[in-house]
């Protein structure tokens, strides 16, 4: 072994070693303030994992029937996306992914949990931060259906009291609870969230902690006529502020408010007014959203599943390397090295491009390990045949790669077609499978074809490596096959 071939051989060996080390540890260039490694090349352990692994929630939302206008759907969806992102930011949830599907008119929200965080109530989060749509003002009065004093009190662990019998006749109006009081709606909506230009959390000595509302001209007019009416009532009328079907505040109206601003006062903390102002400001989705699909994954289960698939990857890799080594001997050893390079490259590619891996994605990586050796199997079988037909080792290796190549190409093209179609039609987790198989198939061209070719060519003129046993061809068998030579070519 000398010259160009030797150089290629050792390049592959060294490259494999380096790639495996990088895949395991990454390339670290010092530490940041928190003591974490700064990675120039990210290791396999920093692969981004999908919410089926980290745990988290994914929801698909659609405008409620008849609420969306096809003409403005696209911009409305963009507004929805921006609002949801803003709300999540305000909730201190920084890792999220919101996307819109303009064709089907949908918004997809994915929120992975931070590692080890099991405290989140996903449904509540989606309800509060994502779905809550409309803010409106409507007159309310204290409910006289059920005296407030006998209102059922719920304690955790006790049985729910039987619902109170409603008087026959007209159905009872919906009752809204707020700070122990019960209210019912009166009349129609006075003001929409869209009539409000801005809302801020303020404090002054006179009113204490409060929310300052600034109206748009339309809002100012509606608000002034409504407050004029309510302030004349005895007792003073109550103005309910609703977020969808939640009553969030019900201040009494003392005077007609004719200017462009108003304040909401109450026994508020600074946090509460900030939240309220926020809800008012961001509470104006263009339409009410329905959750058409929600998946919540418990973080513990996902992590456990991920660990299992990592073990599966290592075991499969080892098994296949062993199989190739035992069955094909020296070429099998090189196929094993190429497979190691393949796996390391694939993991590095995924971690450094920031592709998100799901559990099916892991299955795709493992499957592509099983499929990557196909190229080697085709070529090695061909080399064996050429050897049996009496060719020299050198010539057999050349012929094996030359003749095997079209078959390898065919296999890869058809697999790529299938994976690409799956990627196009699939959803979320399945797309990750399509992507990892695509990457795996493409990489196997470099590793299983080129790298193992370099290694085999280099060793085929290395005296010590030319013993027939190393190539899986026995002398005896060779004679038998040679007898058939005219047929086997």
């Amino acid at each position: 072994m000398r010259g160009k071939n030797a150089f290629k051989f050792w390049s592959v060996i060294i490259a494999t070693a380096i790639l495996v080390v990088f895949a395991l540890t990454g390339l670290n260039v010092g530490k940041d303030k928190l003591g974490n490694n700064i990675q120039l090349i990210k290791s396999a352990s920093s692969i981004r994992t999908g919410i089926d692994i980290t745990g988290g929630v994914s929801a698909m939302l659609e405008p409620a029937a008849g609420e969306s206008d096809p003409a403005t759907l696209k911009t409305d969806l963009a507004t929805v996306k921006a609002l949801i992102e803003h709300r999540l930011d305000r909730q201190n949830i920084l890792d999220y992914f919101v996307s819109t599907d303009d064709v089907n008119g949908r918004v997809i929200v994915e929120i992975p949990w931070a590692q080890g965080d099991t405290s989140k109530n996903a449904t509540k989060l989606i309800q509060d931060s994502v779905v809550t749509a409309k803010l409106y003002f409507q007159e309310v009065k204290v409910s006289d259906q059920i005296p407030a004093t006998s209102a059922p009190t719920y304690k955790p662990g006790t049985k729910t009291p039987a619902p109170t019998k409603k008087p026959a006749g007209t159905p009872a109006p919906a009752i809204y609870n707020l700070d122990g009081g019960q209210y019912v709606k009166v009349g129609s909506v006075i003001l929409q969230g869209t009539d409000i230009a801005n809302a801020t959390s303020e404090w002054d000595a006179q009113s204490g902690q409060h929310v300052l509302l600034k109206f748009k001209p339309t809002g100012q007019q509606a608000f002034s006529s409504a407050t004029a009416r309510l302030s004349k009532q005895t007792p003073k009328g109550l103005l309910g502020i609703f977020m969808d079907e939640d009553l969030i505040s019900a201040p009494s109206v003392n005077d007609a408010i004719t200017q462009s601003t108003a304040i909401i006062t109450g026994k508020f903390t600074a946090q509460e007014t900030a939240d309220l102002a926020d809800k008012i400001r961001t509470g104006n989705l263009p339409f009410k959203l329905n959750v058409v699909q929600i998946n919540v994954i418990n973080s513990q289960l996902g992590q456990q599943a991920y660990t299992v698939t990592i073990y599966a990857l290592l075991i499969a890799l080892l098994l296949i390397m062993l199989f190739m080594l035992i069955y094909y001997r020296l070429p099998g050893l090189f196929a094993g090295v190429a497979l190691l390079t393949h796996t390391a490259l694939q993991l590095l590619f995924i971690s450094n491009t920031g592709i998100t891996i799901t559990l099916p994605g892991m299955a795709g990586i493992i499957l592509s390990i099983g499929l990557a050796v196909d190229a080697n199997v085709i070529i090695f079988e061909r080399i064996k045949e050429e050897l049996r037909s009496g060719k020299t080792l050198r010539a057999s290796v050349d012929a094996g790669f030359k003749r095997g190549f079209t078959a390898v190409l065919d296999g890869n093209v058809t697999a790529i077609i299938a994976a690409a179609v799956l990627w196009y039609f699939g959803t979320g987790a399945i797309q990750s499978f399509a992507i990892t198989t695509l990457i795996g198939i493409s990489l196997s061209f470099i590793t299983a074809v080129t790298f193992s070719r370099w290694m085999l060519k280099a060793t085929s003129d290395w005296d010590i490596a030319t013993h027939p046993w190393l190539w899986g061809v026995s002398k005896k068998k060779k004679d038998v096959e040679l007898g058939e030579g005219e047929v086997a070519k």
């Binding site: 049985k159 299955a363 199997v377 077609i417």
Partner: protein, 313 residues
């Protein structure tokens, strides 16, 4: 050498029997659809222990949300975790407030449920859409691959080989579907992914055998079409089996480990691919190759007898 071509009818019968069983199962109980395709709601709470009354939980939930639900108790593989699984019929899914209400009411009724349950809630229309996309994907992939075959086989063995290869991969897909029908395994997107992967894998097997048939018949080989096909299948046999073996090996590791640790989503993913790869490998050896051999032989006989003969094999 095994007479692959001569014994081809055994393979046809085996395939026929499985397909027939699939058809009978279809009329007997139809397809079973996963929640992913059918839509519905499933909530899986982790429980402290297995001592909870599922009937009581069922009545509490039904009363709270006024929808009929089923509640069952389940465990993980090691038996260390207990779950309460709440399911709602497919035509009814739960809204986010309803899910919250279920949680509150369960807590009020004395069931201590965690705030971090596993929830799968799929609107039936979305489920139908995912299924439609899956079926479209299978057809589209088949179409593209048949185009590829047509393009490739013009050089290899002509259109007839392309048609036979397409029949073989179609039968692979149908066999997979039959297995799911016979054993009433629910279909989901993982199954579609399995079918697509197998289609992509299986055609490759056929191309390699056909490639060898072409090579052997254009070379200086002597022998009838049947002999050449038998030889070609035999020569590529090790490759066919070894490739299927390595693919199945990697998938089997995934399947066994995920079944052991009850990661059903992953097990569901690997299973269709294992049976599909096995079918793909077997159909290349026992169907696609022999069928082409029989066709070529029949063709050759016809040519030899000249145009007067109408008898076909």
């Amino acid at each position: 050498m095994f007479p692959f071509v001569e014994k081809r009818r055994i393979a046809y019968i085996v395939v026929g029997v499985i397909l027939l069983a699939g058809i009978i199962s279809y009329f007997a109980h139809g397809f079973k659809l996963d929640i992913q395709f059918q839509g519905g709601t499933e909530i899986k709470y982790t429980m402290k222990d297995a001592n909870f009354n599922t009937e009581k939980a069922q009545s509490v939930i039904s009363e709270a949300i006024n929808k009929s639900v089923s509640v069952v108790s389940s465990k993980n593989f090691e038996g260390t975790m207990n779950y309460m699984v709440v399911r709602v019929a497919s035509e009814q899914t739960l809204t986010a407030p309803e899910i919250l209400k279920v949680q509150t009411e369960l807590n009020n009724a004395g069931f201590i449920v965690n705030v971090d349950p596993q929830i799968t809630n799929i609107n039936p229309s979305i489920g139908a859409e995912i299924m439609r996309n899956g079926i479209l994907a299978v057809f589209f992939a088949l179409l593209l691959i048949i185009i590829y075959i047509a393009f490739r086989f013009k050089a290899i063995s002509g259109w007839s080989a392309g048609v036979i290869a397409s029949i073989a991969i179609l039968s692979d897909a149908l066999l997979m579907i039959s297995v799911y029908l016979i054993f009433s395994i629910s279909l989901n997107e993982s199954f579609i992914a399995g079918v697509l992967t197998v289609i992509g894998y299986s055609i490759n097997d056929k191309i390699i055998i056909y490639d060898r048939i072409r090579e052997n018949s254009t070379g200086r080989k002597k022998g009838s079409n049947v002999e050449i096909v038998n030889l070609s299948i035999f020569q590529t046999l090790t490759r066919s089996i070894n490739t299927a073996l390595t693919a199945i090996m990697s998938l089997a590791v995934v399947f066994i480990l995920s079944t052991m640790f009850q990661i059903s989503s992953v097990a569901q993913f690997a299973f269709p691919m294992i049976i599909g790869v096995a079918f793909g490998c077997l159909s290349s050896i026992f169907i696609a190759g022999p069928m082409l051999g029989a066709y070529k032989e029949a063709n050759a006989k016809n040519n030899a007898r000249g145009t007067t003969s109408k008898s076909r094999r």
